[in-house]
């Protein structure tokens, strides 16, 4: 395994880089100094040339995003760092910040410089309490050393970075919902156009970037665009810090070149499936990406290859399930996640995830009916691309991909009234095509509190 591909994780074995002195000693803030000597256009160009694409899931070219920001609008510009990392299976941002917080600060500062921004925000999810503290400590150190504040590094560029904590809402990882939340409103996504680059935070031009994306920036400034392009694939240069979790021997965050095949990650780095069992299903990029199977182990982990295979790279969060895992249960749990996290603004997501979670729950517990399957298939079609934002599309992934690859498991649940993998369920005698009338006495999904949907609000 070549160490030259450890870019973002090069210092993960060395906790001395966490405080400022150690980070500086390892070459930190060199790139920021260099960027202060470049013009905004030059900075944007080098990032454009590098081909860096957003690591938060969308894969949008970063340099292009920066170039959309008008610097002459008369309004202040903003950089907002998306540290809301809540996609199930994803933890690379967390560990990146734990192990080298200053790298994020430096990357954010360079991004700010590129769009002439003087106030940047880091939106960190509430659950990352300690990681927020680590960042705040690093910010304090950076201010004390003159890397932030008035006239950074003795020049005439001012920059403030403010830490803002989320409070438990996956939807706030969506760009416009993040901005809404940061502005003090409910974290619901907003219409585009206008795009954030033109009218984002406080109606002003704004760039929102993922943590991992920004942490690549100092390296690109230090080593150049060509260097970056020499790693990874042509369309997806650079490395990716993949998270692999679930039924594997060595779950963890692994930085590998973009395009590394899944087999390499699974077997060479993560030690293969836990207990030597058979791989059943895996997500390439978190719960929002369709499940792939053992048939897809040779797919390269980059944007294009995964898409060709029928899924999405997303955040590169690989979750591995084995032969002892029930796919219906997995689908149900993930759809429940989307139902919990749905912001509620639009009909297909709010109602569709509600419905899908209930039907899947019924099937899983052995109370499914044949009609449920075409209904689930329809539901997937009716939610996909029909909602206000991509959260709903994420919910459809587990539905459609499990129906596609594991229809037999669904049918078995319905036919047998129990799970063919775990054996759980009431079971039932089945001879006739249609369920008996008393089968309609299905257990409702229960809710906490007085009624099914008493407001989760402040009691009067």
């Amino acid at each position: 395994m070549s160490e030259s591909h450890r870019v973002l994780t090069a210092h993960w074995h060395d906790p001395s880089v966490i405080p400022l002195a150690g980070y500086e000693a390892a070459g930190g803030y060199r790139a920021l100094r260099a960027s202060l000597g470049m013009s905004a256009d030059e900075l944007i160009q080098v990032v454009k040339d590098s081909g860096l694409r957003g690591r938060g899931g969308a894969g949008f070219p970063t340099g292009m995003k920066w170039s959309f920001v008008p610097r002459d609008s008369g309004k202040p510009t903003f950089v907002t760092v998306n540290f809301d990392e809540s996609e199930p299976g994803t933890c690379n941002n967390r560990e990146l910040v734990e192990r080298e917080p200053h790298a994020l600060i430096e990357g954010s500062a360079i991004a700010a410089r590129a769009i002439d921004c003087h106030l940047a925000f880091i939106y960190v999810r509430g659950e990352y309490l300690w990681q927020g503290q680590v960042l705040q400590r690093a910010l304090d150190e950076a201010y004390a050393a003159g890397y932030l504040g008035r006239g950074i590094m003795g020049g005439d560029y001012d920059l403030d970075i403010v830490l803002h904590r989320g409070a438990g809402a996956y939807i706030c990882g969506e760009e416009t919902a993040l901005l809404s939340s940061l502005e003090g409103f409910r974290g619901q996504p907003r219409l585009r156009p206008p795009f954030p680059a033109v009218e984002g935070l406080y109606e002003s031009p704004t760039v929102i970037n993922n943590v991992e994306t920004l942490m690549n920036v100092p390296h690109i400034v230090n080593n150049g665009a060509d260097w970056f392009k020499s790693i990874g694939t042509e369309k997806a240069p650079g490395t990716k810090v993949f998270t692999i979790s679930g039924k594997v021997e060595r779950p963890g965050n692994y930085e590998l070149p973009m395009g590394t095949p899944m087999r390499t990650l699974l077997e060479e780095h993560a030690g293969g499936v836990l207990g030597g069992r058979a791989l059943k299903a895996w997500t390439p990029g978190g719960s929002s990406t369709p499940f792939l199977t053992a048939d897809h182990l040779d797919v390269g982990l980059d944007f294009e290859s995964v898409m060709e295979a029928g899924s999405l790279l997303g955040t590169g969060a690989i979750m591995v399930l084995d032969e002892t895992d029930c796919m219906v249960e997995a689908a149900r749990r993930l759809v429940e996640f989307y139902a919990h996290e749905s912001c509620g603004k639009c009909t297909p997501c709010r109602e569709g995830t509600w419905w899908a979670a209930r039907v899947l729950g019924r099937i899983e517990s052995g109370h499914g009916h044949e009609e449920d399957l075409p209904v689930m298939a329809d539901m997937g079609e009716n939610i996909l691309f029909r909602a206000f934002c991509a959260l709903a599309d994420g919910a459809v992934s587990p539905i459609q991909s499990t129906l596609k690859h594991f229809m037999d498991e669904y049918e078995a649940h319905i036919r047998e009234g129990r799970c063919p993998v775990t054996g759980r369920g009431p079971g039932r005698e089945r001879g006739a095509d249609h369920p008996a009338e008393d089968d309609r006495a299905v257990p409702d999904v229960t809710f906490a509190g007085a009624g099914p949907f008493e407001i989760q609000g402040v009691p009067s």
Partner: protein, 195 residues
């Protein structure tokens, strides 16, 4: 008695000053955390006072407060035990941890707070520590690769006034203390599990 007075009013103002002039509405979330750190949950008084501080209607604050999972509108135990049951954790026994947490704290399924007010248990979505699953958080501090036995140990520790060291970072004394940190403030000097 008002929540935001004296030192806490100063802190509230400092929080509001983090944001550009005229954009103090952005301070809603940290102010809610600050109120939660005082009262243990987001109370009606807190909503009203924050609305006044920012200059909006109470309903606008309540709209924000009720949107987020970590801003808790109903009484919460001194210690909040959050158990992830999303996919990666579920695959490795997260549901068993949830059951153990309910049992150890004496909170029935569907309940929110133990009778003695010491604990609350909350089923969580992905906490972002999937590679160390199954995970829980005690007062928003991480415990990794947890077993049901460990859950019982942790609850036992908490009952006897000992907050166990988390996997990373310092122990957080209580849910109130966690809320204070989330408001972006330094822990109070006399921080303890007292109300």
């Amino acid at each position: 008695m008002a929540i935001f007075e004296g030192q806490r009013l100063d802190e509230a103002r400092a929080i509001m000053a983090r944001y550009p002039d005229g954009r103090q509405r952005s301070a809603v979330m940290p102010l809610l955390y600050l109120a939660q750190s005082v009262e243990g949950s987001v109370t009606r008084d807190a909503l009203r006072e924050i609305a006044e501080l920012i200059g909006v209607r109470t309903a606008e604050i309540e709209a924000v407060a009720t949107f987020y999972t970590m801003l808790r509108p109903r009484p919460t135990g001194t210690h909040l035990i959050a158990v992830c049951t999303n996919l990666s954790c579920a695959l490795l026994g997260g549901n068993d941890l949830l059951e153990a947490a309910h049992e150890a704290t004496g909170i029935p399924a569907g309940g929110e707070i133990s009778d003695d007010g010491e604990f609350s248990v909350h089923e969580e979505e992905c906490l972002g520590v999937c590679e160390l699953a199954p995970v829980i958080q005690v007062n928003v501090a991480n415990h990794d690769r947890v077993t049901p036995e460990r859950v019982r140990e942790i609850v036992g520790s908490l009952r006897s006034g000992d907050v166990p060291e988390p996997a990373r970072g310092p122990a957080v004394e209580s849910f109130k203390a966690a809320s204070r940190i989330l408001a972006g403030l330094e822990p109070l000097a006399e921080e303890g599990a007292t109300a």
